[in-house]
């Protein structure tokens, strides 16, 4: 059977010259002949590949797998023959077993190394940096941060009157005595600086350099002095373990590297922020439990009863709009109910943290 000859354009891959040739396709392969009928090239069927995209009229450019020669035939009959005779027409040039398995391995490896990076390397790195950071540098960072937070969160009215930090002399004296008692048994790298911020927020936190901020709202929500002592002890636990600096390092590094990961699509930084939030939750819950343990140890060492704190957490659990199930992975603190239960499991001995008149003075520190 004589195969039909179709006009075609051919370049041999050694130079950029295009020749007008004729191509024929049959069961034994593709042959390219020049004007005088001389054979220019012959390709086995199994090695014929399409190169690039098809034109709008369906024309394909052909090559012999891995070769530089190019053949173009514009004819629908030829196209039809091509598709029926050539099994590997659209197979990519590289051997197939390289593609998906290798990509799967690479992706798996990447996920494994990313997980190692975020969950193991970053915390270890942060802890080492904290260990090596001189207390003076940490103290400066902490001073800057606490000034920033105070300015951000204090009541506007209070700020205008210069009372962003509550400083009534008798209340301040009580606070300092309490801090002194608790820190006798703590191994702080710098003296603790505790300030009460004039804001209705019910919260307290520790910043680098043993700087602790307690919010007026928390003092107002407490009904027993040991509640305040317990919260303070918890924050001192953070300060003693130098958590605040560690958190700052972990979270900023994490955020940056996530930015790198999603590098190209800036819009997906929403995704990046979600992942950051999840990481933040993971990192901090562990530290909160450590601070709880340390705080309780400080309370018992100072012979303060811990049970009132359990009541405090139970009240908080009822007040706070608890995050629905799935969202609790975002929470930076363990569940308040759990914390209350852990405290109740501890020995109940201990005394009141301060006298009634002292408690009155402390509660009115912001007047």
């Amino acid at each position: 059977m004589t195969a039909a000859l179709y006009p075609a354009r051919y370049s041999d891959g050694r130079t950029a010259t295009i020749r007008l040739v004729r191509a024929a396709l049959n069961d034994s392969g593709l042959s390219v002949v020049d004007e005088s009928g001389g054979l220019l090239d012959a390709w086995p069927l199994a090695e014929i590949r399409a190169v690039g995209l098809a034109d709008s009229d369906g024309t394909l450019r052909l090559s012999r797998a891995g070769g530089d020669a190019r053949l173009t035939v514009t004819n629908t009959d030829f196209d039809a023959q091509l598709r029926s005779l050539c099994p590997n027409l659209h197979r990519p040039i590289a051997p197939p077993h390289v593609r998906w398995r290798r990509i799967a391995l690479w992706t798996g490896g990447t996920i494994a190394s990313l997980a190692t990076f975020f969950f193991i390397i970053v915390p270890i790195f942060a802890r080492e940096v904290v260990r090596l950071t001189p207390p003076a540098v940490e103290a400066r960072a902490g001073a800057w941060m606490s000034d920033y937070v105070i300015n951000l969160m204090a009541d506007t009215e209070a700020k205008r009157q210069g009372k962003a930090v509550c400083q009534r002399a008798d209340g301040q004296a009580v606070l300092e005595r309490l801090v002194f008692t608790l820190t006798t048994h703590a191994a702080l790298s710098a003296p603790a600086v505790v300030q009460v911020v004039n804001s209705p927020i019910v919260n307290a936190f520790a910043l680098p350099g043993a700087r602790i901020l307690i919010f007026r709202g928390l003092l107002e929500a407490a009904v027993h002095p040991n509640e305040v002592a317990g919260v303070l002890a918890h924050e001192l636990g953070h300060a003693e373990l130098r958590h605040p600096l560690q958190i700052a390092i972990e979270q900023s590094s994490g955020a940056f590297v996530i930015g790198l990961l999603f590098g190209d699509a800036v819009g997906f930084s929403v995704m990046g922020m979600t992942v950051s939030a999840l990481l933040r939750g993971y990192y901090s819950r562990g530290m909160e439990m450590e601070a709880d343990d340390r705080g309780m140890a400080l309370m018992r060492a100072s012979d303060f009863a811990v049970e009132p704190l359990a009541h405090f957490f139970t009240r908080l659990a009822q007040r706070e709009k608890t995050l629905p199930g799935l969202f609790s992975v975002l929470s930076t603190h363990p569940d308040s109910g759990d914390r209350a239960a852990r405290i109740r499991a501890m020995p109940r001995e201990g005394s009141r943290a301060m006298t009634n008149s002292d408690w009155l003075a402390l509660s009115s520190i912001c007047r």
Binding site: R9, S11, T15, G52, A54, F125, V129, A255, G263, V266
Partner: protein, 398 residues
């Protein structure tokens, strides 16, 4: 003998881009390497020289590997840098040094990325089976950019055209098609006129910005009354500072486009491939039209999506919760529509602007001496195995 490039796309770009957007969403953008490859295949194939289209032979996995390699280096480096930033926050001198080091490193990396990305793309470009290529050393190029960048800063931007010429010369003289190298040589002075149209308003803007902040800092920090007064005056005077800034940004965009095209035409006219010459008659107006069309499409899209979302949310909430105020939903719908549009910006931009730019450049390019093309021969140089890891991290144009 003259020839032009033809722009003849095949297949539906809109469908391709939508598929890319959807897959990017599902794979949290890991698909982007394959998406970019497909889009490049589309555009390369659409450009036809003397009847034969260009081929793009790059693979998605090459981009992926490039990305992973760079990530392995950049991740620890970023860790160290962000820690330094956290610790030094309170120390202005330390922080200043850290910032400076950061910008210096980023500057180097961006230019390295540009060089390597160009090399990768050229090595994956073929025409009639012959490969293009780029030689030269990354670090030579980076050093060139560094020195000229300093010169440009020192001259308040006046030296910029000279920097562009130096970059183009290095890049073009190291570019080849087959065994034939390109050649480029031109003085920079003729570009200066066009460049000043961009530079002078920019300098004026920065000067006024500096003046604004100078005035602000000379007010005592505690004097909130005076500060407020200063701001309100600045913003309300003569249409306000904000309005002026907006007008300026638009003008800057247009004049920048105009300069880049003038530069492109100038570069083309002085680039040769052996005896083959190029002349471009590209103008900025058609491209500007495309950009405006794209912005209009985006705006229309945001509007349409907001309306659809408002309706949808209202219907859903009404079914589950009883009557809901439609007006209250509007801000949320608008925000969601904005987010979706932002995620799809690449779709609109590629569909409207990139196609317009490529078509216009092709149709206004004249190539002379094209018969010489036939004599160009193949070279067998080893090509880099993967690519563009840096370019991906620094969002160098893909």
């Amino acid at each position: 003998m003259h020839a032009t490039l033809e722009y003849r796309p095949s297949g539906s770009l809109a469908k391709l881009l939508l598929k890319n957007a959807a897959l990017n969403l599902i794979t949290l953008t890991i698909y982007r390497f394959w998406a970019k490859t497909r889009v490049r295949q589309y555009f390369w194939h659409a450009v036809r020289l003397d009847g034969e289209p260009l081929e793009y032979t790059g693979l998605g996995r090459e981009l992926l590997i490039g990305f992973l390699i760079v990530l392995a280096v950049l991740a620890p480096a970023t860790l160290v840098w962000s820690t330094a930033q956290t610790l030094l926050h309170a120390d202005p001198v330390g922080l200043g040094i850290a910032q400076f080091v950061y910008f210096f490193v980023v500057y180097i990396l961006i230019h390295a990325a540009t060089f390597r990305a160009r090399r990768y793309r050229l090595s994956r470009t073929r025409w009639r089976g012959i490969r293009a290529g780029q030689d030269g050393s990354t670090w030579r190029y980076v050093r060139l950019c560094l020195l000229w960048g300093l010169a440009s800063m020192a001259t308040l931007g006046l030296a910029y055209p000279w920097m562009r010429i130096a970059q183009q010369r290095y890049l073009m003289n190291n570019t080849r098609f087959g065994d034939r190298p390109f050649s480029f040589g031109a003085p920079a002075r003729p570009l200066l006129g066009s460049w000043l149209i961009v530079l002078v308003p920019t300098l004026l803007f920065y000067a006024s910005l500096a003046g604004f902040f100078w005035g602000f800092w000379s007010i005592a920090p505690d004097d909130t009354e005076a500060s407020k007064k200063y701001f309100t005056e600045a913003f309300s005077r003569r249409g306000g500072f904000l309005a002026a800034a907006a007008v300026f940004l638009v003008t800057l965009g247009v004049s920048w486009l105009w300069y880049r095209l003038a530069e492109f035409r100038y570069f083309a006219a002085h680039t040769h491939l052996g005896g083959i010459g190029i002349v471009s008659r590209a103008r900025s107006l058609p491209i500007l039209g495309r950009v405006i069309l794209c912005l209009a499409a985006l705006a229309g899209f945001v509007l349409l999506t907001s309306i659809l979302l408002t309706l949808g949310i209202w219907l859903a909430l009404s079914a589950f919760r009883g009557g809901v105020d439609a007006v209250a939903i509007l801000p949320i719908a608008l925000l969601l529509a904005g987010l979706i549009s932002f995620l799809l910006r690449r779709f609109w931009w590629t569909l409207i602007v990139t196609t317009g730019v490529v078509r216009h450049i092709c149709e206004t390019l004249e190539i002379s001496g094209i018969e010489e093309l036939s004599s160009i021969a193949h070279t067998a140089t080893p090509e880099q195995k993967y690519g563009e890891g840096l370019a991906d991290s620094f969002e160098v144009a893909g």
